[in-house]
Amino acid sequence: MPQIFPKKLDFFTRLSGAVIIMAAMSGVGLAYYVFSPDVLETGYTPVQPVPYSHKLHAGNLGMDCYYCHTTVEKAAHAAVPPTETCMNCHSKVKEKSALLAPIRESYETGKAVPWVNVHVLPDYVYFNHQSHVTVGVSCVSCHGRVDQMVEVKQVQPLNMAWCLECHRNPAPNLRPVQYVTKLDWKPEGDPAEYGKQVIAAKGINPPQNCSGCHR
């Protein structure tokens, strides 16, 4: 029986096979990259119902994070403040501003301002602000320089590998508890060296087992 395909076609068959495999592999690689939290989550900047500027309040005016996020050292959630907190100042300052209309409305009607959640963790992750802030992990470690953000943006991927980086080596992210909200604070000398002293002094041993964060 004569051959239907010439022998030299083998080369092209192999070549196209290789091309397909390489294309598939690069496709997988590309998908892995684009679906990774670094790409998907980092940089998320949703539009908020009120164009509240952290840069203005926390940066220029120098308000402390604790002024609004009062529960951060007491509970798992760093609560978004009630409308009342805004009105502490805005009943006197910019009390007529059109941009603040939703705030005034909320204050009068008792209905909440529907802020958009920027930093979202999956439901099976039980992150606790209290245990981090009270031990000297600054806001800046996870949230970035919020005091320089007009609109709050997610700057870290917040995936498990990223969490574990710090849980394995917390030293670079530790500071005195009183400077936790001072986002531009730098220790004198090597931050890692300083962190090591804190670890030794407080016996810090972040969990690396599943139930540390998953319950």
Binding site: A75, H77, T85
Partner: protein
Amino acid sequence: MDLIQISPAQNATGKKYWRSLNELSGTRGFTDWVENEFPGGSEILDPGSRRTMLKLMAASFGLAGLVACRRPEMKIIPVSKSAEDVIPGKPALYASAFVNRGVANGIQVEVHDGRPTKVEGNPMHPNSQGAASALAQASVLSVYDPDRARTVHEGATASNWAAFDKAAASLVEGFGAGGGLRILSERTSSPTLLSVKGELLKKYPEAKWAEYDSLDGGHAIAAAEMVFGQRLQPVYHFDKADVIVSLDDDFMGEDAASIEATKQFSKKRKVSKPGEPMNRLYLVESRFSITGAMADHRLRIKSGEVLQFASDLAVEVGAKTALKVLKPGDATQKWLTAVARDLKANAGKCLVTAGPMQSAQVHALAFLINQSLGNIGSTLTFSKAIFEPAQSIGELAKEMGAGTVKTLVILGGNPAYTAPVDLGFGELIAKVPASIYLGAEMDETAAVAKWHLPMAHAMEAWGDARSTDGSATVLQPQIAPLYDGRSAIEIAAQLLDGKAKKSFAVVQGYWKSVSSAADAERIWRKGVHDGVMPGSAYSEVKVAFNAKAIPEVAAASLAGTELVFLSSNLGDGRYANNAWLQEVPESMTKLTWDNVAHISPKMARELKVETGGLVKITLGSRSLEIPALVTPGQAEGSVALQLGYGRTKVGRVGEGVGVNVGLLRTSEGWAFAQGASLVATSGSRELAITQEHHSMREPDMPGRPGELRPVVREGSLEEYKKQPRFAPEVDHAEEMFDLQGGHDYSKGYQWGMAIDLNLCIGCNACLVACNAENNIPVVGRDQIRRGREMHWIRLDRYYTGTEEDPQAVMQPLNCQQCEAAPCENVCPVAATVHSPEGLNDMAYNRCVGTRYCANNCPYKVRRFNYIDWHKNITPVGEMVHNPDVTVRMRGVMEKCTYCVQRIQEKRIAAKADPAGRRLIRDGEILTACQQTCPADAITFGNINDPASAVAKAKAEPRDYTLLKEINTKPRTSFLARLRNPNPELKA
């Protein structure tokens, strides 16, 4: 595979469970789920969603569709104005009470962001002392029951409160002296409601207040009235009694004050060292109760024979001489003599109790025996009765039949279902010109009443109630009424002047009126906060005994078969729509989602019927068919029937579950009836019984049948004294090769648990507490029959002895948290791995559902989500979930975690303590099962700390671990069961 074939609209029949799979789907039947479980390995999709899915897939392949890959935008909803002391995400505990048939059980309700999610015992309450019952634990689920009545109904048409308020105002105008007004309440000890009652009877002197409790005839108080001439409440002190004789009294099980009794009983049951004394319990009963399982000696006789026994015992201890001792047979006589001798030897520190279903005469005889043994004043005291006299339901029915009742107000209780069948109460209600029914569900009574008003749940309105010793607890609402309900106090108060009332004003008004004006606010605040009103307990009343008042015992005719009516997991039927309670295996029989006729093995042979076979029970002119359950330990000639099932109108969960045995229950044979006959019929029903699931038996090998490994170990108090290490010595002593090894568990916290089998009574409180704490789904009857129940605690009940008259041991079995866990070795994705603190962690999100771990678990404690049980849950149903625990999805394995969320909570609290970083204190972490346990059988803590309670428990000589020979090194250990038999009765 054709997706259209499995359209959810296909099957409209079958059961629905509101906590679980069929919640509100309205269509999907139970069996559909089962059949569709793995249709070609596919998901169950709506027909329309196939296209949606393809679209989504296409989008996910294109880079342009990346936006769709982000999680959906989520909102943060802060309050507009903050409330004091409320921290979002932090639960708060509010003291309140769970009222079980009029008796308060002090609880704390855990409230997460405004929604009650969990009941805990209130450690500040003098009676509950930190424990809560299974019923109390499950009550939180009823708050979110979507089948609760939502609107006022006038007849069959929906109305509203405004219309009712108007109608009530005009009704009240016509009451006059109240000649035609009758109020039927559940049995109540509520000081506020009783004061409203007093005002009502003052304003309408001819009106009457009736009370009915389906499970307690109030015979104890009636007996006190008989022999002391005044209505007094017997207050038992089991913690002072060395010998207890219970006359058909399941005081640790069905009794309304069981928590208190169990707390006290276990204090005398606890043996820390060999040689320490322990109490001895004798029990006389017809069916095998959980108190019977604790008994050192149990006598099986018909409930109808208990009166005779009580009388004989009274003669035997010398309490009375008038009647000659009848000799029912030598065995019983020997028993009787031995018990009497033991009682006399312990005069002053023994106790005889009688069950709530036994007559006042039996109670009076029990008082007489206690009196003659000098127990009154020590183990038995009397104080003012917490219940007031009221018209009986029989008298009320007579008046209703005569047509003299013009207005009938029913405050809860569903009497159309629970009242004795011969009264025909449902039809009588329909005859009353104006009937108003306040009830939580659209139930049998709602169907016949003119007005049906939705009743607020106990967690939705202010109220109060007393414990047996009189201490009063104010019930705080934790949530505004979800379905616009009102409470009994509000409706009763409305009858005074026709105006709608708020429970807060009425309850607070009452309490401020009874304390001195200067102190009223302080007392109110302290009482509400602590969960017990200061100074509300009644003081002891000194009594003068009049033995002559007890009527002579006439020989009763006990011909034919006896029927005994009992409470069930569903109470008298009021919890029928509570899926947690439907699914909890009944303590002794492990039966779920059904009720049966409990018959003895001998009777089963005579009737030629097996478990599940239908029997026809005839009593007089009434008969019904019910599946039989062959129950070891059941008295001969006596059949136990559990009430609360066969509800016709209640809601999705409870409707049509089981058989309404109340149809055989007449006023005369209310507690038990003689002269019934049974015949086996041809039909049968496959019962959902969990007792054979997850067995730790060895598998059969060729040529050698498998044996039950020695998982339960028991000995007598004497043996323990002689050979303290009798339990661990069962195991082989040789050093074993360690397969895993290498882990250093000598540092830091190392969590461990010890369960004292000598204290565990098998009441199921831990099981329901675990349900609530860990968001455990309900699976339903069919799935249980497939062995797919999800309870993390398996309460094994082992029988020992003969089939006819065995003894029983309870063994709660949760994940043993093995140090060398066999499950971890076989997980291909490392979803279950060890923590440095010795916990066998379960990462749900990693689990791919191979189920290898469950296969390899020698203790059979892993549970697999075969179905997405939470799939169709409503937003209201979701509110019961504990936000600190992940809700597991389909295809995921789960198991006990030692309440790791509680460990972490306390760890963080200890680290962030404002007073400085510190270690977790012993006893600070209480697992959900341990917290609620009325017997204090469970200890948990750090085994590395020799001073911890758990380390001390594990150091006791009785301590042993299960299946030690396979070297899994479990962190949970058991303290062997002890019995304290009377040497005289050793056969």
